[in-house]
Symmetry: C2
Subunit: 340 residues, 2 copies
């Protein structure tokens, strides 16, 4: 900066102003400074900038993993949107372990993150305490929880699961099962499981406890399908909490000669890229991953520049009807009979 100042025949203060307060500097001086800076390949030292201005232009995101399409997509857009405002994103992956998320988040803050994106409900009591005293703007995504201690930019997991089940029930299904992820450390899973149970209870359907817990890989989905056929063989409607496991369930069904949807109707969750291309095309719940990322960035950036807290936003999720569900066998025969 000193060199640029000397070359341009001005003081360092003016160089700084030429970059940061361009309209307080005379036209030609500004141009001269910018030109020599360019020529000398000068770029401000971000550490010095941050030290003096108390602005790091860093934001943080704590997510379970990047190795899962729905999170990668969200972060991709979060990062991209924030980059357009001159912020860089640092991400911490927590795994699905509840335990170290607070540590990881503190690392992010200690590293100078000015705002934070989280995933799901805030559960660790220490983290709750930490976030209750005002530090920096934080949003949490994925779950929409009106009473959450930080603003949520997510969707209603409960309603989403129920809408899928409503669809299946309307098709005539009465015997349900669910393949879920571990409820431990994931409020999304707990909420979807609760929605499942409540729905079964309210409608007096069957299968309230027919819940198979597995991880989120295709292989787990396949394995879960085998467990389903073994433990709950009269199931006609299967609710999968991710498309990944639905994928596994579908492919295992084919292998075993179980026909989807004729023998068992299946709905997924996420609307992954491949959902429409599965055999049969998967009926599933579309989740606003890209929107959550982008909107979180915009909200947090707004909050950073105006000082007001981000708003709670309930984004839309909706069932996409494709071909993996149909009326249960008995009903179809009934219909056929009545049509005759």
């Amino acid at each position: 900066m000193f060199d640029v100042a000397r070359e341009a025949g001005v003081s360092v203060a003016t160089v700084s102003r030429a970059f940061n307060l361009p309209d307080v500097v005379s036209e030609d001086v500004r141009r001269r400074v910018l030109a020599t800076a360019q020529r000398l390949g000068y770029a401000a030292n971000p550490a010095a900038k941050a030290l003096r201005s108390r602005k790091t232009h860093i934001v943080g995101a704590a997510i379970p993993t990047l190795d899962y399409a729905i999170f990668a997509k969200m972060i991709n857009h979060f990062q991209d949107a924030f980059a357009q405002h001159g912020y860089i994103t640092i991400v911490a992956t927590t795994g699905f372990e509840h335990a170290n998320v607070f540590e990881k988040i503190k690392t992010l803050v200690d590293r100078g993150a000015e705002a934070l994106l989280l995933v799901g409900a805030i559960e660790d009591p220490a983290l709750v305490r930490y976030l209750k005293e005002p530090h920096i703007p934080v949003v949490t995504t994925y779950s929409y929880i009106p009473e959450e201690i930080v603003p949520c930019i997510g969707f209603d997991n409960y309603a989403a699961t129920q809408s899928a089940m409503e669809y299946l029930a309307d098709l005539g299904h009465r015997r349900f099962a669910m393949i879920a992820g571990s409820p431990k450390g994931s409020d999304r899973q707990r909420t979807r499981i609760a929605a499942y149970r409540d729905f079964i209870g309210e409608r007096k359907l069957e299968g309230e406890e027919n819940i198979i817990i597995r991880d989120f890989t295709i292989r787990d989905g396949a394995e879960a399908m085998r467990a389903l056929l073994d433990k709950y063989p009269d199931t006609t409607a299967l609710v999968c909490n991710t498309d990944v496991v639905a994928f596994g369930a579908l492919s295992e069904s084919r292998r075993l000669g179980i026909r989807i949807p004729q023998d068992i109707s299946v709905v997924g969750f996420d609307d992954a890229e491949y959902a429409a291309q599965l055999d049969p095309p998967l009926t599933t719940i579309a989740v606003p991953a890209e929107e959550m990322g982008r909107l979180s960035a915009e909200m947090l950036h707004m909050s950073l520049s105006t000082g007001d807290s981000p708003r709670f936003v309930r984004l839309d999720s909706h069932l996409i009807v494709r071909k993996s569900a149909c009326p249960p066998r008995g009903l179809k025969q009934l219909r056929l009979a009545s049509a005759v």
Copy 2:
């Protein structure tokens, strides 16, 4: 820091030393300092640290997109490995556009990245010039290019494609086609296309120019399959440059009543999570995504601490034989006939 010093009854210098040069400080003083720091919630300001020590503890990665499993997985492990050494990773997504990658990389460096992970061959002449003068350690992944200007930690794309084709040729195929991504800005695609053409030429096979260029979505794969059937209907062996498009090709084939592998044999590239679960299970090339990420991190970290440049590493990629390829129809009939 000043507060910690006062509370602990020492000078700020001692506080600093308690953290950074623990063995130059007496046992009890160190413990006292660390304890009060803990109690006061003190954490060193990274900007001041970076300004003074000239070490940001930031590394950068420039990749096409996070929204593509193979890159997300690589970055996930890169980031994770570097985090264990106290470094944070900032990532810039360049899209598949050749144009702005240099800009993005400079942003990373200007932001204080002490080391860089890149993807593929260095092509932009400006970037070549930039990287030729020594700045910071850089590795490029995915492609293994012995004469590259920065160390590569990748695999041999040429050999990988040829091994897939060798397999198909050994099965008896003579009429080939390829679904590739745009060669523009992707040396991986160019290399695989060259491998394809060379192989066809050397073995005097057919289809040297039967290359369909599409983007990397399942939908594009499906669309490419239609184009293939339209333009090169007598193809018996299809080489797909990603599993994503192979997925699309398979699902479109099913829709159209084309049997894989009986009518057309298909091989993919990447060994995506779902490859084994497709119908038929996809024969494909396993790519060391996780290894590239983790090893790049270790190499760069080594380089950062010792000062020597990272080494070139040629990682393994290999064909995983599943069920999407078999001998071409004519041959099978021949075999049947000879068996009779």
